[in-house]
């Protein structure tokens, strides 16, 4: 069987690598700009939280990606090359980053909310990263199921599919713009709103993606469900954002 080709080639640079590096850079730039508006944490504390978020995101995204492809995982338990090739997932990154930041805050005795400053940069990063996923096409495994809808995209195998990467790009862009331009700021709920909104969106949109199901849902959808149930106690507070 031949290897799947890129949907759009950018010459010698892999589009996923290019847009992933751009995603981190633009996300960090957005954070720097937003921090100028004010931050109730010191630079030292903020760096601790950023590093915790990055480490948590790295571990969470890998762990959930492995669980999301259990058959590939168990077939290649002793093969580190295949282990790395399974990839990563944004949902695991978001949940892992959030858990790591909460644990770090607890260890430092911090009780204030810290995530608002990360909400818009995460939207910027995800939106940019998904461009790379879309341009990569079939090898990226983020495409949707076959569809006859007029906006279905043929990634090169002759089958029109849901452009699930673009659905996500539109969602996080709209969400990020809303958070950026809403009048009231700094109530500490923007990150929770992003978490609930994004995980709810992924729970729904992942029904349009192929994947290994476990009791009707993929591991990513189960992770979304557990996180949503856990965070649902904050929903009445988050609703204030949309009034």
């Amino acid at each position: 069987m031949s290897e799947p080709e890129l949907f759009v080639s950018l010459g010698p640079v892999h589009p996923h690598l290019l847009f992933e590096l751009l995603a981190y850079s633009l996300g960090f730039l957005a954070y720097r700009i937003l921090r100028r508006r004010g931050d109730h944490f010191t630079t030292s504390t903020r760096w601790s939280l950023i590093v915790a978020a990055a480490v948590g995101a790295a571990l969470g995204s890998k762990l959930l990606a492995l669980l999301n492809e259990p058959s590939t995982l168990f077939e290649n338990l002793s093969d580190p090359v295949k282990f790395m090739a399974i990839g990563k997932t944004m949902v695991g990154g978001l949940i892992g980053g959030w858990i790591a930041v909460e644990l770090t805050k607890r260890s430092m005795g911090i009780r204030e909310r810290s995530g608002d400053l990360f909400a818009v940069p995460i939207c910027v990063g995800v939106a940019t990263g998904r461009i790379g996923c879309f341009l990569t096409g079939l090898p990226d495994h983020t495409f949707g199921t076959p569809t006859e809808l007029p906006w279905g995209v043929d990634f090169g195998d002759g089958i029109a599919r849901h452009p699930a990467q673009l659905y996500e790009l539109v969602f996080v862009t709209a969400f990020g713009l809303y958070l950026l331009f809403r009048k009231q700021r700094g109530n500490g709920l923007e990150f929770r709103a992003l978490l609930l909104g994004y995980l709810g969106f992924r729970l729904g949109v992942d029904f349009l993606k192929p994947g290994e199901l476990l009791w009707g849902l993929t591991a990513i959808q189960w992770a979304c469900t557990f996180a949503l149930v856990y965070h649902s106690i904050h929903w009445p507070l988050v609703r204030r954002l949309f009034r």
Binding site: E3, H14, L17, E20, V51, A54, A57, A58, M84, G87
Partner: protein, 104 residues
């Protein structure tokens, strides 16, 4: 005895930046060595594992440096190194399989 560099935003920021630049510089040096020197001496199978799992193999030199930064009580340096290591792991995890399985 050297003062721990935890006070004040400027030294701490500078140390984080030093850690980031140190890790990136080492990645560059190791990358050049891996592509031009190491293939001559390392078994091909181990070479493929070391390169494709760079997100993990980087800890062979980032790990000791992080421990050394801890010993020096330079938390900024430690965090800069750890940040680059985490991002390297993320990029490696996301892109290695794609680059290996898709034509450019």
């Amino acid at each position: 005895m050297e003062e721990p560099r935890t006070e004040g935003p400027t030294p701490f920021n500078a140390d984080v930046l030093r850690g980031i630049l140190l890790a990136l510089g080492l990645h560059l040096v190791v990358g050049l060595l891996v592509f031009f020197v190491v293939p001559e001496f390392l078994d091909l199978e181990w070479y493929i594992v070391a390169v494709s799992c760079f997100g993990l193999s980087q800890f062979l030199y980032i790990g000791p440096l992080m421990l050394y930064a801890r010993k020096l009580k330079r938390p900024g340096l430690f965090r800069g190194l750890l940040l680059v290591a985490a991002l390297t792991f993320l990029v490696n995890a996301g892109c290695w399989g794609l680059i290996a399985t898709s034509g450019l």
